[in-house]
Amino acid sequence: MFSRTWQRLSSVVLGSLTVPTVMADRGGLNMTQGVTEISQSIFELHMLIFWICVWIGVAVFGVMFFSIFKHRKSKGAVASKFHESLGLEILWTAIPTVILIAMAVPATSTLIKMYDTTNADVDIKITGHQWKWQYDYLGEDVGFFSNLTTSKDEIYDITEKSENYLLEVDKHLVVPSGQKIRFLITSNDVIHAWWVPEIAVKKDAIPGYINESWAIIPEGEEGIYRGQCAELCGIQHGFMPIVLEVVTMNQYQSWLVDQRAGVEAEAAAALGDFSYDDLMTEGAEVYARSCAACHGSEGQGMGSVFPALAGSSMALNDMAGHIDIVLNGKPGTAMQSFSAQLTDVEIAAVITYERNAWGNDTGETVTPQMIIDAKK
């Protein structure tokens, strides 16, 4: 009944709707298919809608370009007078409606799956801070901060950029494959958003509220997946990435043990001896990572918004106040409390550094023991 041409044409059209992988991952042109069932469903939805739009576009623009070519005055076209048709209006209202309903069905079922956080095996609380992520493994006594490790030198074109420029952190979020992981997401200050494209998890981190999301990364998909903050959160919004490291269940269990041991080791280390030079070296590194964003790489501050540390009376005179403000922050300002996110050694080191760098030269050393005492 239908000519061969129509048959070929319709098989091409229908074929393209059911073959989602044609445009897959073509060198940064398309969305990732990801490594989870959900990310795959989303990718397929994306391609389905995309191809529907392409074919509608081809049809509509086809008629339009045909008309532009044929119905031009310079080719002698004479204008018709028709200007309405109820039948056509009904037709081109009804057909899009049907197409939309067809799109809405798989979209609904995927969304329902994305909302089902029940029966999780692992619960991880994710807290967004300006400008880093904090991870707490509920019930495992493991928690840490995760900071960008790309150096300022790379950012300011002084040294060459590494392969994972802006997408590398000091501590990865390690999770087991084959387990249902539930993410509980909140924020310490402004709204952030936690996003890892390969597992198709994106959720806003809202201060005072808890959001949840989940993912199962199948066994066999172990690896490193990188994401970024996805909600404008201030100056360093582009500089607080996420690195998700998926390992086998066994590796995950060992890693948890190591983490707990590491915390104990750090606490023990704080009781050891530290030379002035050790503290200054470590302090410089901690400063660059945790303080320079606001207080400036030379301690110069930023106008009236962030106070300078170079030459400040607190850095030169008020040791107790200096320790207190780093430990507890300053309410009502952007200066946060660092007691939870830096170890006693790191805090001692950075305060020592701040009191001696940039010409401050107090000659004072702040030891980890002094920090432990200040916390009591």
């Binding site: 940064g28 469903s41 532009i68 018709s80 799109m103 582009g238």
Partner: protein, 530 residues
């Protein structure tokens, strides 16, 4: 106009003297043509200022790494670019076109409330002066995005946020007064015989847009007032510490924000609906359907706002509702596109500059509409939200969408305003440069967004570098080509081939029955419309 006794009607002498001389003419004018002109020049200036900010942004994004500016200033540029383009360029341009053309199209001597009209305009330079001045303060301009989510824009905002709030209030008052003026004018001053269903589509779309403005600008005023209260008066609308909710901000903002984007496109739909029939020499296909489709879009625009918030943690039922409602908007929008194409079909087309911009609008706005439909699919939106895919979408609907609509309107009506034809060669050159520029800038953003590049970042990972470089080149092409437009406008105002009353062979409507250039006062006697 010397002595005025109690009984002497000075009014009758006005027309013989013409407009006042010097700057006070412009300060005190109540003439819709003067006010329209001021709005248009104001918006064009703001286009260049907002455009310069965009070029600063795109220059920084030309390569990975920070070369030009600091992240702090980058956030100010992106924020101000958005605010200036939305509130300073697109919206006032449409108001300018409305002021010029609505009275002419309905056969009215002026707008219904001419003094309020003057005030609506003059608020704007002050509002934007205040906003732009914050760039030169120590704390810097607003840096929290044009969508200014709390608490980044409340607890964590720079001190300029207060000036920002006052600026928004002023712009809002300007828009509300302007919208009331349009509604009253259209309802009361149509020439006898011009029923609602005989009005030109541009008048219809502005009529509907005016209702949207009146409905939602107060909501914007409400949300910035709540911000002001939170910042200065110890309330906690958006602060969980006091029992408030940052997400409340988003709901109230987007309740304004979504109708706002339809406010920015509906008049363009109207302009294109005037231009295509003229240059196809064929009546608009499906006039009634176009009116119903526009009304449906306007109504639907009120119930879709949370599609900007799909990742905020809404309950499932709410998320599904907003997905379905958003998808529905595709239907009346599609109907309009089909009607435009049907207008062209079996017409007798010529391709002067207004038609080129109008045709580019149909194609490129539709592409923007397609990416909008993709965004509406909530599960997929989890991968698109806050990426460059969204940036690509809204720039397609706003730049080759709304802005091309405005430019098309300016070319279309310029001979009527100035009495001179513009140079077709220059116009076409402007068109092709803009068309190429706009696509080279914004099409790669689809790819880079799908590949995972977030929005509002001053620096990016290496895999996004190539498309960013291409987009920057496109931005400069597009930006520089607007200088051609400026040159053309000034040249045309100063002189050129004289335009006839009708200007265009296929033009229909009351505005083409008066001389070109349009006299200072028109339709003192209302025409009779059959």
């Amino acid at each position: 106009m010397t002595t005025a006794t109690a009984n002497h009607d000075d009014h009758a002498d006005h027309g013989h003297h013409g407009p006042a001389k010097g700057i006070m003419r412009w300060v005190l004018t109540t003439n819709h043509k003067d006010i329209g002109t001021m709005y248009l020049w104001f918006s064009f200036t703001m286009l260049f200022i907002g455009g310069a900010m965009a070029l600063i942004v795109r220059t920084e994004l030309f390569q990975p790494g920070m070369q030009l500016i600091e992240p702090e200033f980058y956030n100010q540029m992106t924020t101000m670019h958005g605010l200036i383009m939305v509130f300073g360029a697109i919206m006032p341009a449409f108001v300018g076109l409305a002021n010029w053309m609505v009275p002419l199209m309905i056969g009215a001597p002026d707008m219904a409330l001419p003094r309020m009209n003057n005030w609506s305009f003059w608020i704007l330079p002050f509002a934007f002066g205040m906003l732009l001045f914050t760039l030169f303060t120590d704390a810097g301009a607003p840096n929290f995005g044009w969508t200014f989510y709390a608490p980044l824009s409340t607890t964590y905002a720079p001190s300029s946020v207060t000036y920002f709030i006052f600026g928004v209030h002023m712009m809002g008052i300007s828009s509300i007064m302007g919208a009331i003026n349009i509604i009253v004018t259209i309802l009361n001053l149509r020439a006898p015989g011009m029923t609602l269903m005989k009005m030109p589509l541009f008048v219809w779309t502005w009529f509907i847009t005016a209702y949207l403005l009146v409905a939602v600008m107060p909501v914007l005023a409400g949300v910035v007032t709540m911000m002001l209260m939170d910042i200065h008066f110890g309330t906690s609308f958006f602060d969980a510490a006091g029992g408030g909710d940052p997400v409340l901000f988003q709901h109230v903002f987007w309740f304004f924000g979504h109708p706002e984007v339809y406010i920015m496109i509906l008049p363009a739909f109207g302009i294109v609906s005037q231009i295509i029939p003229t240059f196809a020499r064929k009546p608009l296909f499906g006039y009634a359907s176009m009116v119903y489709a526009t009304s449906s879009i306007a109504f639907l625009s009120f119930i879709v706002w949370a599609h900007h918030m799909f990742t905020v943690g809404m309950p499932l039922q709410a998320e599904l509702f907003f997905m379905y409602a958003t998808m529905l908007i595709a239907i009346p929008t599609g109907v309009k596109v089909f009607n435009w194409v049907s207008t062209m079909f079996r017409g007798s087309m010529t391709f002067e500059t207004p038609m080129l911009f109008a045709l580019a609008f149909v194609v490129l706005f539709t592409i923007g509409g397609f990416s909008g439909l993709m965004l509406a699919i909530a599960p997929a939106d989890f991968q698109y939200h806050d990426t460059y895919f969204v940036v690509a979408h809204f720039h397609y609907v706003l730049v080759p969408g709304a802005l091309f609509g405005i430019i098309a309107g300016v070319y279309y009506w310029l001979p009527k305003w100035t009495g001179n034809y513009y140079s077709e060669k220059l116009g076409k050159f402007h068109f092709w440069m803009s068309f190429i520029g706009v696509n080279v800038t914004f099409f790669p953003m689809h790819f880079v967004g799908l590949a995972g590049m977030p929005r509002r970042i001053p620096d990016y990972a290496l895999q996004f570098a190539d498309f960013n470089a291409i987009a920057t080149v496109g931005a400069f092409i597009f930006g520089l080509s607007q200088l051609v437009f400026l040159f053309l406008l000034i040249k045309t105002i100063r002189g050129g081939e004289k335009a006839t009353d009708k200007v265009w062979e296929g033009a229909e409507g009351l505005e083409w029955t008066i001389p070109s250039p349009a006299p200072y006062h028109t339709f003192a006697e209302p025409p009779h419309v059959k």
